[in-house]
């Protein structure tokens, strides 16, 4: 509304408290085997993880899905079967039948199992949400301990959209019974490449 902006800003200016300083945020660093902490966190949030030493192991998995006739999209150029063109322009109703999406994770957070996935890697913002099974591939060296380090590694507005994904979609809205697989993926599998 035309005057509301000015009215709100004026009222805030008149009513706001005396200045309070903005604190610096420490890193709260923790040493240790981050990969194992990360794997433990993934398990806790209902994701499965596989440690691999090369991408060829991910390729093998991907091929096994293809052979089984799975409808999948692979947005990772380093893997075999990179096929974004088939789905890039697809709308939601066309994507509804998508089974599996392979997407690169940028940064993993050991403490909570969250993985930062940015729009340029997911290609289509719908991929990580509309598929039944999401496969994220992350380098072991991109695992940090906590969110403070993670935010130092990422640029949140580098792409128009980015998200921390921590496990498969879930809900406990019926009597607090945990149900894995709400509206998004029913499954999350994470390949950790060292």
């Amino acid at each position: 509304m035309s005057n509301s902006r000015e009215n709100i800003l004026a009222a805030i200016n008149a009513n706001k408290p005396a200045p309070v300083e903005l604190p610096e945020i420490p890193l709260f660093e923790r040493k240790g085997d981050l990969v194992n902490v990360f794997i433990g966190a993934l398990e806790f949030i209902g994701a499965t993880s596989v440690k691999v030493t090369s991408l060829s192991e991910v390729d093998e998995y991907l091929e096994s899905l293809q052979q089984a006739g799975t409808r999948l999209v692979n947005t990772i150029a380093e893997l075999n079967g990179y096929n974004i063109n088939a789905y890039k322009k697809a709308n939601a109703s066309e994507l509804e039948a998508l089974d599996t999406a392979f997407i690169k994770g940028r940064v993993g957070v050991a403490e909570n199992g969250a993985i930062w996935v940015s729009e340029s890697d997911m290609v289509n913002r719908l991929f990580p949400f509309i598929c039944r099974k999401l496969v994220l591939v992350i380098n072991a060296k991109d695992i940090v301990y906590n969110m403070h380090e993670a935010y130092r590694r990422i640029q949140v507005d580098e792409d128009g959209y980015g998200t921390f994904i921590a496990g498969p979609s879930k809900t406990a809205d019926i009597e607090q019974s945990l149900v894995v697989g709400a509206h998004g993926p029913l499954e999350l599998k994470v390949f950790i490449v060292s």
Partner: protein
């Protein structure tokens, strides 16, 4: 002027009538609180994080206008359209006009307490726009035509048999199939179609970052993302206090939020929206609706630090035993009880009294809002403004009059009698609520004062 709602105590008593259900509600929410404790105790710097969260929010409040301007400028640069609404009506009108412009009649909405506060669903329904709440809990209560009873667990007042019946009626699920997995999958089928066939998506906002001009929305179900990404219009509605200065501040709040809310280390999705996707329009509505007034109330302004985690709900022994609907406000629980009087003192004068002032809320709060002190302070304001009724005031006056004057107090012919008459919880009268389920303390043969005069008097 509004009328007072059903007093919390009456609604609470009604809630407690179903003893088993009430006990389940209490125990289930206590379990959530216990999960929160476990999650917090895994972070050695938990108290330091609470301090940081609190300081960042206090700093933001003290520079709120500048940060909102910074946010607006950056959001616009990002191609987002920013709107300002001074009250609920303006908010609803803005949302309606955007939808009208796009000929949108089917809207999917992820959780937004602000749109509850503004009564958006009802407003749009009157204008032939259908809004489907896509968070499972909200979807359940929407089908039942009820408001959410909890800001994080909207359907926590219901049992699986209730959900089963509701879904059987509306979604034609098998009668009496109460399996949560079955029921969740059924909703998934229906809602996936809604996401895909909708014309627009509305979301709430957990955080808005001034320095980058983007917003963060946290869900476990993925419903906000599915709705937004599947649609050409995204409208994000937020109370303006959701603003934070820097992207790195998110690291503090995202460590605190889910742990405080449900004991999860983080929500499944913490989605950062900075620019609309190709071919999409993105709108953000910044809403006041009484927040500037609350900002001006020195004793109450830091309630605006709230990040809506509901930890204070889960820990509150009164909330757990009275249910969210007894608070007759879009935000229930202890935090709701200090927010609601700002919106309407007459209607909500009972809420600050729906507490024992035990202080648990203040100490679970991840941003250190002094909730119990504000409850106490609201009581003072509400009584000073005359919302206590004249009888209450008169009896208090009489009581303080006597207690201020030791001579009169002594003359009240036997203190026990005085107390039995005036100390509210000890009125010796079978109509007194104390006596309904509790015995009176037995009167001793002499007071301590009398004993002291006999045994120790140095005077």
């Amino acid at each position: 002027m509004s009328q007072p709602a059903t007093h919390h105590n009456k609604a609470a008593a009604a809630f407690l009538k179903n003893g088993q259900r009430a006990q389940w509600h209490d125990e289930t929410l206590w379990f959530v609180r216990a999960k929160r404790d476990k999650a917090a105790h895994q972070i050695p710097e938990w108290e330091a994080l609470r301090n940081l969260g609190s300081q960042i929010k206090e700093h933001t409040l003290s520079n709120l206008d500048e940060y909102l301007l910074q946010f607006e400028a950056n959001a616009k640069k990002n191609g987002i359209k920013v709107h300002w609404a001074n009250n609920a009506a303006e908010h609803n009108q803005i949302v309606y006009e955007i939808l009208l412009h796009h000929n949108a009649v089917n809207v999917v909405k992820s959780k937004s307490m602000l749109t509850e506060e503004c009564g958006l669903n009802h407003y749009l329904a009157e204008r032939k726009i259908s809004v489907v709440d896509t968070d499972l809990g909200e979807y359940i209560v929407q089908l039942r035509n009820e408001p959410p009873s909890h800001i994080v667990l909207p359907a926590i007042h219901l049992k699986k048999e209730d959900v089963s019946n509701t879904f059987h009626k509306h979604l034609h699920t098998e009668k009496n199939n109460q399996d949560p997995v079955y029921l969740t999958r059924a909703a998934r089928q229906v809602l996936r179609k809604k996401f895909i066939t909708a014309d627009a998506a509305i979301t709430g906002v957990n955080f808005a970052v001034a320095e980058t001009g983007g917003i963060v929305v946290c869900t476990n179900e993925g419903n906000a993302d599915l709705g937004v990404h599947a649609n050409k219009v995204h409208i994000a509605c937020m109370g303006f206090e959701k603003i934070i200065p820097r992207a790195q501040d998110l690291s503090v709040f995202l460590r605190l939020l889910a742990r405080s809310a449900t004991g999860q280390p983080i929500t499944t999705y913490s989605s950062h929206f900075h620019r609309p996707k190709a071919g999409q329009e993105m709108h953000i509505v910044l809403v006041n609706n009484g927040r500037t007034e609350q900002l001006g109330r020195e004793a109450f302004r830091n309630s605006l630090k709230c990040i809506r985690c509901a930890a204070c709900f889960n820990t509150c022994p009164v909330y757990r035993r009275s249910g969210g609907h007894s608070y007759h406000n879009s935000v229930a629980g202890p935090i709701g009880s200090i927010l609601a009087p700002n919106l309407d003192m007459r209607k909500n004068a009972d809420l600050p009294f729906a507490s024992t002032l035990c202080g648990s809320c203040t100490n679970v709060c991840p941003v250190k809002i002094n909730i119990h002190e504000q409850l106490w302070s609201w009581r003072q304001v509400l009584m000073a403004e005359g919302y206590g009724g004249s009888a209450k005031k008169a009896s208090m006056k009489l009581m303080t009059g006597v207690l201020s004057k030791p001579a009169v107090y002594r003359l009240s012919t036997g203190m026990a009698r005085f107390f039995m008459r005036y100390l509210p919880f000890l009125v010796n009268n079978r109509l007194n609520p104390w006596y309904k389920q509790r015995d009176m303390p037995s009167a001793p043969k002499e007071s301590f004062k009398d004993w002291y005069k006999k045994n120790r008097n140095h005077e």
